[in-house]
């Protein structure tokens, strides 16, 4: 099971299909980012035989740009539209990954997306976990997509 590859394929499909934008994936990070500043994180939980989550971590200005691409309108600051768009981005990426994991025989159910944002916050990953975090870029924008299992 190549979790990084699943994340790359899912993220690129969502961007190409729904945002008409190509995203480039970098090498998975060797250490997990836990602390974020001036950012927004959208998280979708996974339940079933294996429990975990997929999270999209993005600086606020990048989240605004992603929302502009989704909605085709100018977005100046973090608002409910941005939070909703980032939640839906995480939802579609997670749904795509879920399909790949189910092909491997895993039974997974998804939660409704949740978002957190702030100037300085931590997204913790309790307990021992298997996972990866992949950096992506488009235009001059960078964001992270993470998957982990307990």
């Amino acid at each position: 099971m190549n979790l990084a590859q699943y994340i790359v394929e899912a993220t690129q499909e969502v961007f190409t299909t729904m945002l008409m934008e190509e995203v480039s994936a970098g090498a998975p990070l060797e250490t997990r980012n836990e602390r974020f500043s001036d950012s927004i994180s959208s998280i979708v939980g996974m339940a079933g035989a294996n429990k975990g989550a997929v999270a999209v971590h993005s600086p606020v200005n990048v989240a605004c740009r992603i929302t502009e691409l989704f909605l085709g309108m100018e977005v100046e600051s973090l608002d409910d539209d941005v939070k909703d768009a980032m939640g839906e981005l995480a939802n579609m990426i997670t749904g795509n990954v879920k399909g790949k994991l189910e092909e491997q025989g895993q039974d997974i159910r998804l939660s409704i997306p949740t978002t957190v944002d702030g100037d300085n916050y931590t997204v913790e990953c309790p307990g021992k976990h298997e996972g990866t975090i992949v950096p992506f870029s488009f235009q001059d924008c960078r964001f992270l997509v993470e998957i982990h299992f307990e």
């Binding site: 085709g72 749904g95 879920k98 409704i112």
Partner: protein, 122 residues
């Protein structure tokens, strides 16, 4: 062409679906929206529509629970529903199809896919 109801807890997705419908060449007299199944039932009892596009994973009343409730209402049970969701090949989508959903569209989707699926119904 008539009226459509888009059910999704994401306002972003409701806007994207509306835009994709126009790009696919569908022009509706009225496009109604609801954020969950219960809100959709309330909308439908005020304004009947010709077709419904519904998400599956939603708070309050999800897409499967909405189908069950719609099927129990004689005034609503004949309205065709297409599921539009990240869920594909899953038990919950199969439940929706067993409850009478006329098709499914996987997110992410293209206007061409919407045209293909809705074209068989409208």
């Amino acid at each position: 062409m008539s009226k459509i109801l888009i059910i999704d807890d994401s306002s972003t997705m409701r806007k994207i679906v509306g835009r994709a419908l126009r790009q696919a060449g569908f022009e509706f007299e009225k496009t109604l929206e609801a954020a969950d199944g219960q809100q959709a039932l309330d909308v439908l009892r005020e304004t009947p529509v010709d077709i419904i596009l519904s998400d599956i994973n939603m708070p309050n009343m999800n897409g499967v629970e909405f189908l069950q409730a719609k099927n129990d209402d004689p005034a609503l049970q004949s309205i065709p529903v297409v599921m539009i969701s990240t869920e594909t090949g899953s038990d919950i989508l199969n439940q929706a199809l067993e409850l009478g959903a006329k098709g499914s569209i996987k997110k992410p989707f293209t206007p061409d896919l919407i045209k293909e699926v809705l074209g068989k119904i409208l």
